[in-house]
Symmetry: C2
Subunit: 117 residues, 2 copies
DNA sequence: ACCTCATCTGAATGATTGTTCAGATGTTAT
DNA sequence: ATAACATCTGAACAATCATTCAGATGAGGT
């Protein structure tokens, strides 16, 4: 049951192929998806917003979003893996800061968008 | 078990309160989250990218991302509810186009980000 | 009226996700 | 070394999500 063959009725093959060609490469598209996924959670958004202003340690961040240390730690790991934040150890504590300049503009633009809509 | 009280040990209350005050209003923050959620799926990203170039009908879009008409319809409903796309009926077919200019810049910025990372 | 085609809807399913709990790791101080 | 504290990890759970299937809606043509 190949869909490209079955629905030859209304599909405008030309348009579709044009759109397909202009589509970004799989890798880049998936990369963008991952970044947007990271931004698609209220608490992560709060964390990133706070970190866009100053470095904070794990328990500061936990207090900020009012969840367990464990929960923030999990989230920070995601953000770290996605290279949106980086960490720095100082004694017992670990301080986090933004790793990526671009993220801040994405964040701002998303917020601006939400203000207007 | 209030976390703000328990962990008075390492939490820098000043920093936290400052960050809390600067945090965008709940409503805006959740709004931004919703927009990012819409962008956090490869197929929706493909759909939006294609629509950023020209109007397309449902079955074109289904062919583009190679899923059922039903699946695209569900996704388009999400995008419509989020006001990212709008639809126009022409005979039996329904054509979709971007509803929001800002989305395109978010999309582009996300992709640019993914290219560099 | 009927039939066909394009799109939509609702229920069901499997996959992913955010959180918590309990316990592990690593650091500092005594 | 032992204790105390900050952070991390893994398992478990509920919630959310993307897809499909089957059937509904709505428009055109005969």
């Amino acid at each position: 049951m190949d869909k490209d063959v079955c629905q030859t009725t209304c599909v405008n093959q030309q348009k579709v192929e044009r759109a397909l060609q202009l589509l970004p490469e799989q890798e880049i598209l998936l990369g963008a998806t991952e970044i947007f996924k990271m931004l698609a959670d209220p608490n992560r958004l709060r964390l990133l917003h706070a970190l866009s202003q100053e470095e904070l340690c794990v328990c500061d961040l936990a207090a900020l979003v009012d969840v367990t240390d464990s929960a923030v730690s999990h989230q920070l790991r995601l953000l770290r893996t996605a290279r949106l934040v980086k960490s720095r150890r100082e004694g017992k504590m670990v301080y986090y800061q933004l790793d990526d300049e671009h993220v801040e503009s994405l964040l701002q633009e998303g917020l601006r968008h939400a203000e207007e809509g």
